[in-house]
Amino acid sequence: MGRHYSVSGGNLYIFTTGQERLLDLGVFPSELNLFEAESAWRVSPWIAVVENVLQKAAEMAQIILQLNDYERISLPTNILEHYFLDGDEYSLLEVIQQASVEVSPVINLQDDAPS
């Protein structure tokens, strides 16, 4: 159970497991262009995805997410994408248990997803 975020394939993934509910997407200032008209994004009850997020916006988003008790974690893109489709936590939790929670203060868009 928890609140996580990940950057994979240039996309920002914000997700929760268990009984946790996703944060209010209105917490992100419109200047970041995350969940706005001019960006491509997706939201389901358990995961929000912003596609092709800019480095600067990702850094700012990370600060906001950490303030809301979200932890950064490295997960394969296909696992995250599958989680968007069906919300099945089983495979996600398996990977989360193996992954180490990162505490990096700065997001690097290039190296987050495990190969």
Partner: protein, 518 residues
């Protein structure tokens, strides 16, 4: 040009175009007769009739479908601020367990603020939002994007435009229809329901006119297509697709993506089933400008797709003869009113100069003009009669007549554009206002009203009669005989105008002699 030549040329133009349009009129009249005939069958005896599946929901209060396959409801949005919340809430109230709602959003306005609200993310049902930063491919592009994100277990996909209010039982109704057609020789790709443009029908004369038009189309024309097994369109909203077929065919970027998909699915050997009993109420465009833009898009996209797939469809061995004939009928669909107007004007010119071929009498000319003119209005009258709304909505038919001739030149221009252009034009969206003058969440069907009345009598529950039952007048017979008269009038006149033998043989012989003799 000499007056004689002008008159005679005009009469031949009138004869050709009037005769051509009469083919359409004939279809409308026959469709009206079929619909009147079908709905005159006692619902309790319907189960033994060959067309019982069309009205098979009639005797069911609760539709039982057994197991619940996974269903994905797709809602294409583009600046739907006035109606977004309404349709999302309606979709959340659907009486079904295994389903998700997927909003394919291209909005550029504050609709996005509604989608970002946390209240939609409680997980029952699952609501997903997929927002694109551009609008490439318009509605088809958005729906194709949505296909990437459907639940892996999805077996059926339902599509509603944002201004619809789907009733709670609609998924069960769709699945019930699929199950009824499981053993059909030709696989069913989609079930199309009735787009009941009704919510703001009393807003102005335009909304009343469009209401009558849709009633004729959905209660009569499409019903007849279903009865005779002709090609039926998937019409943009209120339909359920088999997910496997949609994954295979996909949406493309046409401005009439529904019609484009319809042709492709028939070419691939699938078919569409229509029933007027699956109904979802919706808004009606409220201004002439909006109607014109909508119809121009339909005319252009429709004609473009016909041109694009014409040979494939005609040559395809997977379309039945009835489907091919319907496709041929659909081909110049948006030029109908243009053909009628030109034909009628030509006839008036011919009459002015008092010139016409010997077999082409003035009575015959006028009978053809009137018969053609009244075909679509009679279909509208029949449709609203069958829905039990004739007393309230009959004047809508006159609004529809006025509207159809007003938009005719625009529609004809767009159809010609679609016929000759190398690429389709833009998609002008139709603004949804969210206005409601008449709310309805049931089934508009005279037969059903009569059936409920009988049921109540049998259960001695007349005191609970809250349903408005129309006054019993011989309107069904009046409509029936008027239609029969309008069909045979030009034929009788044609016969009486001939000097010898069969008028048709005479006419063909006359034309042949003309060709042979130069």
């Amino acid at each position: 040009m000499h007056q004689y030549q002008i008159g005679l040329t005009s009469s031949y133009i009138a004869l050709t175009l009037g005769g051509f349009y009469f083919m359409y009129a004939l279809k409308y009249y026959i469709s009206s007769l079929l619909a009147l005939g079908l709905f005159s069958i006692d619902p309790e005896k319907l189960q033994s009739k060959p067309f019982h599946r069309i009205l098979s929901l009639q005797n069911q209060d609760e539709i039982t479908i057994g197991d619940e396959p996974w269903v994905s409801i797709h809602l294409p949005f583009f600046n739907e601020l006035n109606v977004a919340r309404r349709i999302l809430e309606a979709c959340m109230d659907i009486n079904y367990t295994n389903y998700e709602v997927l909003v394919a959003d291209d909005s550029r306005d504050t609709t996005i603020e509604i989608l970002r609200e946390r209240g939609w993310r409680h997980g029952n049902p699952i609501i997903k939002f997929v927002h694109r930063k551009d609008r490439s491919g318009y509605k088809g592009g958005a729906l194709q994007q949505a296909m990437k994100y459907i639940h892996p277990l999805t077996q059926f996909i339902v599509v509603f435009d944002a201004d619809f209010v789907p009733p709670a039982k609609i998924i069960r109704q769709f699945i019930h229809q699929f199950r009824l057609h499981e053993q059909d020789k030709k696989p069913v790709a989609a079930v199309q329901g009735y787009q009941l443009h009704y919510l703001n029908r009393n807003e102005n004369w335009i909304t009343k006119g469009v209401r009558a038009e849709f009633s004729g189309s959905y209660m009569v024309e499409r019903l007849a297509e279903e009865i005779i097994g002709a090609m039926k369109m998937v019409s943009g909203s209120v339909f359920m697709f088999k997910a496997s077929v949609l994954r295979e065919l996909g949406w493309n970027h046409s401005i009439t993506e529904d019609w484009d998909l319809t042709i492709r699915l028939y070419i691939e050997g699938f078919k569409v089933v229509y029933t007027p009993l699956i109904q979802a109420p919706a808004e009606i465009p409220t201004t002439v400008r909006r109607i014109i833009r909508q119809r121009m898009r339909w005319a252009e996209g429709h004609t473009f797709a016909v041109r694009k797939y014409f040979l494939s469809a005609i040559r395809s061995g997977k379309l039945t003869l009835a489907e091919k004939l319907e496709f041929l009928y659909f081909a110049p669909y948006y030029l109908q009113s243009f053909i009628f107007i030109i034909g009628s004007v030509a006839w008036i010119i011919a009459q002015y100069y008092k010139r016409h071929p010997s077999f082409w009498t003035p009575t015959l000319g006028w009978s053809l003009v009137f018969s053609n003119f009244l075909a679509i209005p009679m279909m509208g009258f029949t449709g609203i009669f069958l829905e039990g709304d004739l007393a309230e909505d009959f004047n809508g038919v006159f609004g529809f007549i006025a509207l159809s001739y007003f938009i005719m030149p625009y529609q004809a221009y767009a159809a010609l554009k679609g016929l000759f252009e190398s690429e389709e034009g833009f998609w002008f969206r139709t603004l949804k206002t969210g206005h409601i003058t008449d709310y309805f969440l049931g089934i508009k069907l005279r037969g059903l009203i009569e059936w409920i009345k009988k049921l109540r009598k049998s259960r001695e529950l007349e005191a609970l009669d809250t349903i408005r039952v129309p006054v019993k007048l011989p309107i069904r017979r009046l409509l029936f005989f008027s239609i029969v008269f309008l069909v045979i009038w030009p034929v009788l006149e044609f016969d009486s105008g001939a000097s010898t033998g069969s008028s048709l043989v005479y006419f063909l012989g006359y034309m042949l002699r003309g060709v042979v003799n130069g």
